[in-house]
Each structure stands twice: as C-alpha cells, then as structure tokens.
Symmetry: C2
C-alpha cells in the first residue's frame, strides 16, 4: 500500500488527530507534513484538495478532513 | 487493539469516507453503525462526542469528524 499523507499545522487539534491516525494506520503508512513550518507544501496540499488541516490524503487521493484546526487560506498569511 | 466505531448516515460523503477508513485501518478493526437506520444509536454517538457524521470514534475514545455529511441534530428529525 502506498502511503497516506497527513497535513497539519501544529495546532492542538492537529496534534491530537495525528496521534490517532498514527495509532490507527501505523506510522509506517503515513507521511506527516507540517505545512505551517513548510509553506512550500501549502500549494501541494491545495492541489490534493486539502481545504483545512488536519487532513489525510489517502493512497487513492481522497481527502479526509479530520475535525478542524485551521483553513489553508489562513495558513497562507 | 479494540475496535473503532464508524458512525454514518448513508450519505454519499459517509459512504466515501467509510470506504477510505475501511481501506486504511481494515474492516476487522472497525464497527460500522448506520445511525440513519438505527436511531437508537444516535444517543450513543452523541455521548461519545459525535456532532456530525461521518465520524470515527477511536479505541481511545477520541472522535474524528471526517469531512461533513450531516449533523447529529438533523438526524434526529
């Protein structure tokens, strides 16, 4: 199985969701990207369909927005 | 690992999320409950902290609201 990608921005909602996702699917199955610290990844996330973080992009390229931490728009500023 | 519980209401957003979750964590690790068809489960979901469906309640009792299909309130009517 190819990896899922978990995009987050370091918020408490993000950290909590990250722990749950890692527990559920295994750290070896998910790449974790902090788009607050790595702004160049914002465009990549947007192109994948991510509208808010935390979000998980699955190996089938579906986006699961998990709870709500921050919108992508807010992270650009 | 104890099972997660996936609550949904049969909406297209729910069905899509269900497929992704089952693919990611394995059908053997998740109990799927359709609270549109089983209204007695609405209270159980609410008590677990579910505010909208689809949602996944993890073995550690955290609620991951995944995308947005319908609010619990709307399902009561």
């Amino acid at each position: 199985m190819s990896k899922s990608i978990f995009y987050h921005a370091g918020c408490s909602v993000c950290v909590s969701a990250e722990q749950e996702i890692v527990n559920l699917i295994g750290i070896e199955n998910v790449e974790i990207i902090h788009i607050g610290e790595n702004k160049s990844k914002i465009l990549e996330a947007e192109e994948a369909g991510v509208k808010s973080v935390p979000a998980l992009v699955t190996p089938t390229n579906n986006v699961l927005h998990i709870n709500f931490g921050a919108s992508i728009e807010d992270l650009k500023s």
